[in-house]
């Protein structure tokens, strides 16, 4: 039934991903339809989908390296084709690792792997790290961040062991900057770029938290917007404007159902759909 995904956002369920359900909930929250696509179903079912999301998790058990096995999966051929046609594609956390490993991000050289998501480097600990950080939305043509103002600062949770954007070719980094591909950077609550831990929670080069392709339709991001879609998901003690909003809405059940900072990634997609 190739029409199954007609005008729907397809959420790719590789074996081992684990954020597919909350990602679908977040997409539905902005009024779009979302459906899970099991990795080994017929790729043609995605021909008419409206967008593709690669959710977080541990696809194929992070065998060899996070994201690398899924990047070689048959379905990624279809995702690459859709991306080239301009269909919006979002990779969150493990999904970002898949996009990097498949060469779709940064996509400067055709399907060449120019970036890596390497093990975190942190000042006083190692390994997996789950916390809330601040993101600054940078000047870019990314369709997934259209709902943000340039320079807008938002809190967001991260949870990964291998999230450090690393690059060996400085020219590629220069190119990414020139083409406005660095869509998201880790920053202080005031929006300053401080390269030290914990502001930069994993040692990413240039504080990079999210990279889009030059065309702006594909975004790979390590933070989890689907875990910050509703105000109730923001920690009470976070501080700053979002923490304050959360705390002042405590006891107000409806107030807590208001949108959280992560919602804007999904409403960016909804806005794009309206535009077209």
């Amino acid at each position: 039934m190739p029409e199954t995904f007609q005008d729907k956002v397809a959420i790719i369920q590789f074996p081992g991903v684990n954020c597919e359900y909350e990602t679908a909930r977040a997409v539905r929250m902005v009024g779009l339809e979302a459906e899970l696509f099991r990795w080994n179903e017929d790729p043609h079912m995605l021909d008419h989908c409206s967008a593709v999301i690669l959710p977080g998790g541990f696809s194929y058990q992070d065998r060899i390296r996070a994201g690398v096995v899924a990047a070689k999966d048959k379905i990624m051929g279809k995702v690459s084709e859709l991306a080239r046609e301009g269909r919006p594609v979002l990779g969150i956390c493990n999904g970002a690792q898949v996009l990097v490993e498949s060469g779709l991000i940064p996509g400067i050289h055709w399907e060449r792997v120019d970036l890596a998501l390497a093990p975190n480097i942190m000042a006083d600990r190692e390994g997996y790290y789950c916390t809330w950080i601040y993101l600054r939305c940078e000047e870019s043509g990314c369709v997934w961040t259209r709902a943000f103002r340039t320079g807008e600062v938002v809190p967001m949770p991260i949870a990964h062991a291998e999230g450090r954007f690393a690059i060996t070719d400085r020219d590629v980094l220069g190119e990414m900057e020139k083409q406005g591909q660095i869509a998201l950077r880790y920053c202080t609550p005031a929006g300053e770029i401080d390269e030290r831990f914990p502001v930069n929670p994993n040692g990413s080069v240039s504080n990079i938290a999210g990279v889009c392709n030059a065309e702006g339709n594909v975004l790979a991001m390590m933070p989890h917007p689907e875990r910050a879609t509703w105000l109730r998901q923001v920690p009470e003690d976070l501080g700053g404007p979002w923490g304050g909003k959360r705390t002042s809405s405590s006891g107000d059940r409806n107030g807590l159902e208001a949108e959280g900072p992560g919602m804007m990634f999904f409403s960016s997609l909804a806005a794009k759909e309206v535009d077209e």
């Binding site: 359900y21 977040a26 789950c130």
Partner: protein, 791 residues
Amino acid sequence: MVTGTIPIVARDDGEIKKTLSENGFNLTVTEARRVAELLGRDPTVVEITIFNTMWSEHCSYKSSRKTLGEMLPTKAPNVVLGPGEDAGIIRFAEAEDGDWYCLVIAHESHNHPSQLLPYEGAATGIGGIVRDVYCMGADVVGVLDPLRFGDPAGQKGRQSIAIARGVVEGIAGYGNPLGVPNLGGDIVFDAGYDENCLVNVVAVGIVKESRILRSRVPDDAAHKPYKIILVGKPTDDSGFGGAAFASEDLASEEEANRGAVQVPDPFLKRVLAEANKRVFELAERQGSAIGFKDLGAGGISCATSEMAHAGGFGVTIHLDRVNLAVGQYPPAVVSCSETQERYALAVPLEMVDDVLQIYNEDFDLPHIYHGAGAVVIGDVLEEPVYRIESGDRVVCEAPIDVITTGISYDRARKPRRGRFEEPELDASRSLHDDFLSVISSPNIASKNYVFKRYDSEVQGRAVLRPGEADAGVIAPLEGRDVGLAFSVDGNPFYGIIDPYQGGALAVCEAARNVAAVGAVPSTITDCLNYGNPEIEEVFWEFSEGVRGIGDACRGIGLISHEGNPLPVVSGNVSFYNQGESGKAIPPSPIIACVGVAEDFSRCRSIQWKDEGDAVYYIGEPLDELGGSEYYRVIYGTLGANVPEADFIREKNQIKTVIEMHSNGWVRACHDTSQGGLLTALAEMAIGGRGSGRLGLKVDLEEFAGTGLEPEKILFSETGGFIVELPAGIERDVLALCARNRVKLYKLGTLTGRSKLEVLLKGERLAHWPIDELRDVFMDGCRGIFGLEKKN
């Protein structure tokens, strides 16, 4: 006819003993004779292996069953399923369609495996406990992990730290890939755990009452053919004898026992969870009854015999059909190994092909994991017989009620007489410095180095995360107000002095912790960790602990259904927790409590919120510093005056705090327990994320009536609560407390001056800038779980 028997019937005791020990069986001679008597002949190797597992302490509860049955309340109006199956179940919210949303909870220990192989032991602990919840048909929505490790600064400090780090890695290494959030836990370090750490694990899940699956062959098998399907990881010899191993002392044969630790695989578990859901949906669509059970202790033999027995049927298992890992294994290994990530299903014949298709083709198990898959391994029989065939040989055959026969012992008990004395307080000591020592001690200091290793956000339901409040809180149902709160507790130091109080206070504190976020304590589970029950003093400690738990459950009661006890719906007993020296661990009953909050938006973190708010203390400090952190850290002694559980006081306080939440008054709430009043105040000032800024000035003159020295007021571990309430409602607050007959002290008003000050009659005893407290508190466990700071 069965073949390959072990000679018992015609042998004398000495010969039997030799045979048993040579073959690595833990059965006693008397138990082996009982096996032969039940069967009416010599047992086969497979049969005696099954009994060796089923009659282990871990599976049979042979020493504890009687005590548990006599002392613990298990029935209440909210209980759907009490102890006895893999998990307990309570109702917590009525569904729109008249069905009920239920909470499923299971609680186990994985102590011995974790001591030997910390990563694998802890990881398979999580793996096993989530399977117990999945197999009821539930979605697993969280795990919690109470941990006890050796003294990091003691004789075996390096080993204790390595074990602690390995265990935390293992929990992270399983829970994170599985996509189940960590909702909380606690850690206690003490030399009493140097040779035997405790890794307890709790898993919780959600299921609608009508969708609960049972671990039994359905009644429909009486009139249509049913098959047994085995699904998951290929069977190997890992974990062979695991349950029996868990029921031995941790003696020197460590190397030999490593093979008894199972091998974890969260990836396969995650894919299986998705595939299982499709199978359950299919069964529901077709209106077919199925049975579903996880494979744990005793592997294929225990799971399939229990499923058949529970349904009143028999079963034949064909070992040749079992998908094996590389290698050849004898029938006893295939029947009883504890290979992880496997389930058994009883499904009607007409559904078999569709089920195999879901596992083997849709989710492609054989290709995503070498050797994994679903296969039909058995037939359900009307005749109640349990039979295992290997090739053309019958390696086990007996009436099924013989195979599942229980065993029980009456253990003797004798009070342990310890000498405990109160220390002489030294008035010349610096309160300022002593308090910094207390809050930087690893038992009190922030566990952020641990919590941040765990994914506490996945599934998107988190409301209050580990460390932020006394209980972890989730919003389990989309669009609904209901919240669920979880806490695990058990202070071993109280139990050393008085094992009854150890049990009772663990329940009180767990209940208090869920009440602190405004949730009604609705059920508990207990994991009872003790030494060798054959030692009379140890069994006395155990039975005293259970008596304390039972009394506390009846004393606090089920506040939502007045007149009923707080029910115990699940639990676990772990005996033989002792090392080479033969010294048992401190009595360690650990309680998990589930609270139901009518509106999760009123569940608040411990951190102080607003300048000008009033801070009250609900309770009264008594001269109860026995087992306190203050005595241990400052005076190096346990003391003697352990807190005495006063259930009426606890219940009244809990009701008061819940009412304050319902009234919408509470801005922050924290219980006073480990570390006492001053520690609780500091923790509220700092906050779980270390972002607190507000200060407070407390004058101890308020407490003049208690006649206690300042140190005792500040560090007594008598239970109580501290609440932050808005100013201007004092009259209502006093009236509520009077009505509920609880004592209330006003401690002061929150100020923007970022400082905690303690005064006596206007004179300053000590003061600490919040930043100073924050630094030592947040950093206290870095030496154990973190790295040297660089930057």
